[in-house]
């Protein structure tokens, strides 16, 4: 008999996966419609009710009764299910692929036990306005979790209300605004300072909150530029809003000086902890002097990303800012947990109700599984994996790790394929298209591309060494292809669900079609 295991290797190295993405050629859902079919029946109303209330639709004011039923498709249940199952197969969740190619996103393992618990009727069937006495379990989970987040960050009080990271950032911009309003300095302090390697939402959310945004660029070595900060601060500074480590994976060694300079100028300092996965139990926002921080529960705390939410953003502040947190907060009187709405200095609401409860529950469960030692181990391995990748990546032709040469990185690295592009004409973006042929995600970076031909990799703690090696082998292969057969890379994907899409129609108001009905009007019927 053949030794199948041996055939998976060549010269001791694993062979590349012969991947092909599902390609169902599944129609758009409207194309499945067949008149008269039903996907589900709705509960019938008892006869006696119908008899008593009569024709309720006739109570509707003139013109308010819908004349024609909505033109939704008519599809049987098994066909709806098959449609969505097939489309799901054309999607790569972190559960399926070696999802280290979406740097900054912290695509880690989302434990199934957490999902199962969050699917319990004991949480899915809670109404957010139920009396406190009926939601003691949920409130206790939030209260306990707050205690742990306080320890992880050093902060004094948290809100769980924001629906994801950006909303938590916005929440903190609002608190900065409220603080300066109270001090009568809001008119004067109208500037927020951030860095280009902090998430774009730091700039964008500050702008929505009414601030002028000053963006600092790094020094030659890729570190946040202390001199640039000194020049930027003034009596107009409301605050500093930055990520650390930045999206380059570089930790700002002068972070305390940054904070001191802004404090000395009268500003507040917000620590965007979207990149906290490598520093749990290692260094804390409070210890570096920050006034505010936030975590993404769907990144660092292992709640799934749901194709782009719902996520969870928790924001923490020091005592002096605690009074500004949104209403309500969760409190404990020694006997019962309760919601406190009586907070006169609060910024009010940033989101409806209390936050995304199932995401909070998943994150809480994750922390309770790991404890203090486990969290530190998460970070240790995330950093080890990243530095392993860093070392191996530099052995691949055409790629480099700009900045902080010879230094270690924390949990991710923003690489540059500039050399490969110069040598072969293949852009980083196309490496990503080709990576899809191997069942892998690959991401460049946020804009603007400060690092030329960027590629951000964040291995987290969730993948085996063999999986990291596999990802590296794919990049090595693509690099090789770029040098020997660039067209193969530039015409990718070849083994994916679809081929290269045409982008021009998406930027042309005459051609773009955001819904099927728009498509029929604009494109197909022409």
């Amino acid at each position: 008999m053949k030794n199948i295991t041996a055939e998976r290797f060549t010269n001791g190295e694993p062979n590349l996966r012969r991947f092909h993405q599902a390609r169902w050629d599944e129609p758009i859902i409207y194309e499945l419609s067949k008149e008269g079919q039903r996907g589900i029946l709705v509960p019938e109303v008892e006869d006696s009710i119908q008899e008593q209330v009569g024709d309720v639709l006739s109570t509707l004011p003139e013109g308010l009764k819908r004349k024609k039923p909505p033109a939704l498709p008519e599809i049987s249940q098994p066909r709806v299910l098959r449609h969505y199952l097939r489309l799901s197969q054309e999607n790569l969740g972190a559960g399926l692929n070696i999802d280290i190619g979406q740097g900054t996103c912290t695509m880690k393992y989302n434990p199934k036990i957490n999902k199962e618990l969050a699917g319990s009727s004991k949480i899915t069937d809670l109404h957010p306005l139920q009396a406190d006495e009926t939601v003691q379990g949920m409130l206790e989970i939030i209260y306990r979790f707050e205690g742990m987040l306080k320890e992880i960050s050093g902060m004094d009080k948290f809100t769980f209300q924001p629906g994801a990271g950006s909303q938590a950032i916005y929440n903190n911009a609002r608190i900065i605004r409220a603080y300066h309003e109270d001090n009568g300095e809001s008119a004067q302090r109208d500037e927020i300072i951030t860095t280009i390697f902090s998430h774009p939402s730091n700039a964008a959310c500050a702008k929505v909150a009414g601030y002028k945004v000053i963006t600092l660029y790094p020094d030659e070595d890729g570190y946040p530029d202390l001199d640039a900060l000194k020049e930027a601060v003034s009596e107009r500074t409301a605050g500093l809003m930055i990520t650390n480590p930045e999206d380059t994976g570089i930790f700002n060694p002068k972070i305390e000086e940054f904070v001191d300079i802004v404090h000395d100028a009268g500003g507040l300092c917000f620590y965007d902890q979207a990149n906290a996965n490598g520093i749990l139990g290692i260094t804390r926002a409070r210890d570096a002097g920050f006034d505010l921080c936030h975590f993404n529960l769907h990144k660092t705390f292992a709640a799934p990303h749901g194709c782009g939410g719902p996520g969870g953003g928790v924001a923490g502040v020091t005592d002096k800012l605690a009074k500004y947190l949104p209403i309500p907060t969760v409190e404990f009187d020694g006997n019962e947990y309760y919601l406190d709405y009586d907070r006169p200095d609060s910024i009010g609401k940033v989101r409806s109700f209390l936050g995304v409860a199932p995401v909070i529950l998943k994150a809480y469960t994750w922390v309770m599984n790991l404890g203090a030692d486990g969290l530190k181990q998460v970070s240790a391995i995330a950093v080890l994996n990243n530095n392993y990748l860093l070392k191996k990546m530099q052995e691949i032709k055409g790629v480099s790790a700009p900045y902080a040469e010879g230094k270690r990185r924390i949990e991710q690295v923003r690489y540059s394929w500039e050399k490969l592009y110069e040598d072969t004409g293949v852009h980083s973006e196309y490496i990503g298209l080709r990576a899809a042929d191997f069942g892998l995600h690959y991401w460049t970076s946020h804009h603007p591309f400060v690092v030329p031909e960027p590629n951000t990799l964040e291995p987290t703690e969730s993948y085996t060494k063999a999986e990291l090696d596999e990802y590296l082998a794919v990049l090595r292969q693509i690099s090789h292809e770029a040098y020997t057969d660039p067209e193969k890379v530039q015409t990718a994907p070849h083994n994916s669900t679809v081929h290269q899409a045409k982008h021009e129609p998406l930027d042309d108001p005459k051609q773009w079609a955001i819904t099927w009905r728009a498509y029929l009007k604009k494109v197909q019927d022409k």
């Binding site: 306005l129 409806s352 108001p509």
Partner: protein
């Protein structure tokens, strides 16, 4: 003393000692600490974090969390009449099957090639909502209705280049507070009065407030107080005559039977997807949609991602991609329209599944059935001595105000006693809307059977005794 043992964490593959050692060697490091060389000693946390002892085994972990959850009393164990922005509707099993798939649940922000499925289902979600709303553009949703409404106002302000908006006073006060702050410092919100007897917008007050500064008029249908605003056409005409945009917030589940807002002149429509196949999740199921006509000046003002269908290099193949990506903060940071980030895509996928299952007949039957039940409930409640339902004399959909002025008890006392009867009573409005006296907002949907409603009526009678 318990014995110490080294732990290999199941979620952390390379924590196994031999692998860890091999990898440390590969990176020329003696220990993990060396990898943190850039973190100054002054801010290194050297203690052990003071955290509860973990439940290392999955079984113990489950027992712990289930123990906490068991303290909750749910809307399945109790009969629930709370609505007010989060509503109990039936969730078809297929919805949970699809949103529980790892392929969707654990995915994030892949490209249209590796994540074609995500792009197609979100395009389809928008396409299904588009028919429900009778509009051509629907966004990949934001956090919730609060955010959708607040962003709609900012969009209107940018479209009209004006800085004042008029908002109907019958709105959820928390939502209003959030919108006010969100609009600050660029836009000022002014409130339009309502008729205290029927809850309808006071048109004369609207006429008085509107001016050439008005960017938008915002109202909801059904309103927060459950009733149907019948003057939509007139309101939008007044808005348009003054060069303002008409923004309407809507409960999408009402649109099987109610005219979609574009039918009475809405330019931007927003609302919450939660009723469409998403569990209440203690308020975690909210998801805010925004829709409009397919006009460039509207489309270019969305902060959200908009997924468009486009040809590929292969004839007859559908591809997808971002429409007008350059508007977003992903592309141009603070120069973009507000911001875009992780929001609620999974709930949009779910709402798409829901609408595909329901079809046109399902939505019509459901809407009518809800109205029949809510009207039955109101009629029955109205027969209780001292209770008036509906308190506001207007047509209503699934929610209505119940007034207890003629009784001795406060709403909070009544609701507290109702819990003992296995019932979550309607939301207390006494503080939010003092004009309505001792009133509560009751919500009745297709989950309520006749005996549930009858039990509510008997229980209230007993409580009031």
């Amino acid at each position: 003393m318990t014995k110490k043992r080294s732990i290999v964490y199941p979620y952390i593959p390379n924590s196994a000692p031999l692998v860890k050692k091999e990898m440390l060697k590969a990176v020329d490091a003696k220990n993990i600490d060396e990898l943190y060389e850039d973190i100054p000693a002054s801010i290194r946390f050297t203690k052990k974090m003071d955290m509860p002892e973990p439940y290392l085994s999955e079984y113990a972990l489950r027992r712990h969390v289930e123990g906490l959850l068991s303290k909750n009393k749910t809307c399945k164990e109790y009969i629930n009449f709370l609505g007010a922005g989060c509503w109990q509707h039936y969730v078809p099993a297929v919805c949970d099957e699809i949103n529980g798939r790892d392929e969707f649940l654990t995915a994030y922000a892949g490209e249209p090639y590796d994540d074609h499925g995500r792009f197609q289902v979100l395009f389809e979600y928008a396409s299904l909502m588009a028919e429900l709303l009778d509009m051509d553009v629907v966004n990949v949703p934001t956090y919730d209705w609060y955010q959708a409404a607040a962003t709609s106002l900012r969009m209107a302000s940018r479209i009209t280049d004006r800085v004042e908006v008029l908002v109907s006073k019958t709105i959820d006060p928390h939502k209003l507070a959030m919108m006010r702050e969100y609009c600050k410092p660029d836009i000022e919100i002014k409130l339009i009065d309502f008729n205290k007897a029927n809850g309808q917008i006071d048109i004369s007050n609207l006429k008085k407030l509107i001016s050439q500064k008005t960017a938008a008029v915002y109202f909801e249908n059904p309103t927060y107080l459950g009733l149907i605003e019948s003057q939509g056409k007139e309101i939008s005409a007044i808005a348009h005559a003054n060069g303002a945009v008409c923004v309407v917030g809507v409960d999408p589940i009402s649109l099987g039977v109610l005219t979609p807002p574009i039918g009475y002149g809405a330019d931007i429509v927003c609302g919450d997807l939660q009723p469409l196949g998403v569990h209440m999740n203690y308020g975690g199921g909210q998801s805010g949609f925004i829709a409009s006509r397919d006009e460039e000046k509207y489309v270019m003002e969305y902060p959200s991602r908009l997924f468009g269908i486009t040809p590929t290099t292969v004839e007859g193949e559908y591809g997808f991609g971002d429409v007008a990506y350059e508007r977003t903060s992903f592309a141009v940071r603070e120069q973009g329209k507000e911001w875009v980030g992780t929001a609620t895509a999974l709930w949009a996928i779910t709402a798409g599944v829901y609408l595909a299952l329901m079809g046109p007949k399902g939505m019509v039957e459901l809407g009518e059935g809800i109205m029949q039940r809510s009207h039955y409930a109101a009629e029955q409640l109205n027969q209780i001595k001292g209770v008036k339902a509906p308190y506001l004399e207007s047509a209503f959909f699934k929610e209505f105000v119940v007034n207890f002025d003629e009784t001795e008890m406060s709403i909070s006392e009544i609701n507290k006693k109702l819990i003992d009867h296995g019932i979550f009573g309607g939301k207390d409005l006494s503080k939010e809307f003092p004009d309505l006296g001792k009133s509560a907002l009751y919500c009745v949907t297709e989950v309520h059977q006749k005996n549930d409603i009858d039990k509510l009526v008997t229980s209230i009678k007993e409580v009031l005794k």
